[in-house]
């Protein structure tokens, strides 16, 4: 008898898992809360490290799912989640009840809401934007201040909502450093007259080709890197942004006027994921992401037999890692469906 798996979340992890399950002959129902698939991928224009268009990745993922006749439920959230013996019952907001032999949770992440770091002035001052807002500008092909003028001096603040006890996030979101470097290069490409300054605590370039991008940003694009955590942003009487930071390597406080400030928002457990955790009894960790049963060899396994995790609902990951993690989740599901007597 054919098996049926419900995949919760239609972002990179959910789509990859659904696609791979379909390939191996499992019936899949994919549940997505938005009207279309793609999740956070849709917010990004080009991707690190090779600056490929995000739509290419989207097309690959949709090609084996949405455009391959998968059973897709959009605008769907989960209201009930229960397990009896070896079968799951999942009820959506539309009142549809789905039965499943196994479940993959791929609820992903939400970007940190930058207004929570009030001292950086997001939503208070003009021209303070988030990394996702900047991607939107890249997509439109124009980087402009709220008055329409081209910014000349642009600051990028790393670790907004990450490694910060004040917002309750101890962890490093891992991708913001390389995103800062990517976006700094893209700004310099589009605005050759501009100056870009990255304010960082540590440069965490621990991914394939990240360090090379960092080097390129310095060598080819003249991006400036200043080591220090920006303490606050304010506005001068001329309506210009001003930031305060300690240039820790010079050992001196530094102030700088900027035309635009870009906040590298970190990753948090998604709202949807939190809701599922609350109705399903799935364990979450101190960082609020779902807690896998073993960090080394049970990284896709949950505390509920038959429920597996894929992607950034467990920890910050880049797209490459997310796809690998989703494939690993599929392998766990296949093991489970084969081994169990269901």
């Amino acid at each position: 008898m054919r098996k049926h798996v419900v995949v919760i979340g239609g972002g990179v992890a959910g789509l990859e898992a659904a696609g791979q399950l379909t390939k191996v002959g499992v019936d899949v129902s994919l549940i997505e809360k938005e009207s279309k698939t793609g999740g956070n991928l849709n917010k990004w224009f080009k991707l690190f490290p090779d600056r490929r268009s995000s739509s290419e990745v989207k097309n690959y993922l949709d090609g084996m799912t949405v455009n391959n006749g998968i059973n897709l439920h959009t605008n769907a959230t989960i209201e009930k989640f229960s397990r009896s013996k070896s079968s799951f019952s999942i009820t959506t907001n539309a009142g549809k009840e789905l039965k499943a032999d196994a479940v993959i949770v791929a609820t992903g992440f939400d970007l940190f809401k930058s207004e929570r770091k009030e001292e950086y002035g997001y939503g208070i001052y003009d021209n303070v934007i988030s990394s996702a807002d900047l991607e939107e500008m890249f997509r439109k092909g124009i980087i402009a201040k709220t008055n329409g003028a081209e910014p000349e001096k642009i600051g990028i603040i790393h670790c907004v909502g990450s490694r910060d006890e004040k917002v309750g996030n101890f962890y490093c979101s891992k991708l913001c450093c390389v995103t800062a470097v990517k976006q700094a290069i893209e700004i310099r490409e589009m605005l050759p007259e501009s100056k870009v300054f990255c304010f960082y605590m540590d440069m965490r370039m621990g991914g394939a080709l990240y360090e090379e991008m960092y080097r390129e940003a310095q060598q080819k694009w003249g991006v400036n890197f200043i080591r220090g955590k920006v303490s606050e942003a304010s506005e001068t009487i001329e309506n210009q942004l001003m930031i305060k930071v300690e240039d820790t390597l010079a050992g001196r406080p530094l102030k700088m006027k900027l035309d635009m400030l870009v906040l590298m928002a970190g990753m948090e457990m998604s709202k949807g994921g939190k809701k599922i955790a609350s109705i399903s009894g799935l364990h979450t960790g101190e960082n609020r992401f779902f807690a896998a049963t073993d960090n080394h060899f049970g990284n896709n396994k949950s505390n509920v037999e038959g429920v597996f995790y894929a992607g950034t609902c467990t920890a910050p990951m880049n797209i490459t890692e997310t796809i690998s993690h989703a494939r690993a989740a599929v392998l766990e599901v296949m093991d489970y469906l084969t081994d169990s007597k269901i």
């Binding site: 001292e119 670790c159 490694r163 910060d164 006890e165 004040k166 605590m201 540590d202 080591r227 220090g228 955590k229 920006v230 303490s231 606050e232 305060k244 930071v245 300690e246 240039d247 820790t248 050992g251 406080p253 530094l254």
Partner: protein
């Protein structure tokens, strides 16, 4: 010596073995969050004293940990104990109390 317009320059190396870390140890014991500092400089950026004088809590933190206590002793009293630094610290270090504890540690050792 100054008459001759030259002097013997002090060695710039931190001599880890001969430096005493008793001030650091006292603070570790009485304000354990002292260990959490990652030298981001957020405290120094927001510090009013630091903007006007040669005072940096971030610098003092590391000097205390290395046992370079002379500069710490000379600068401690510049702090106005306003506590703005502790509002900024991403590691939740009780920065203001570090100054208080450092002062106590010097009092005890003197």
């Amino acid at each position: 010596m100054s008459k001759f317009g030259f002097s013997i320059s002090q060695c710039r190396q931190i001599d880890y073995e001969s430096n005493s870390r008793r001030i650091a140890e006292y603070i570790f014991e009485n304000e354990p969050s002292f260990r959490l500092c990652i030298e981001c400089g957020g405290c120094s950026a927001t510090c009013t004293t630091g903007n006007l004088t040669d005072f940096s809590l971030r610098e003092l933190n590391i000097l205390i940990k290395r046992g370079e206590n002379d500069k710490v002793r000379r600068n401690l009293n510049k702090c106005m104990l306003c506590g703005k630094c502790s509002l900024v610290c991403p590691r939740g270090v009780n920065t203001r109390n570090i100054i208080v504890m450092a002062k106590k540690a010097f009092q005890i050792s003197d």
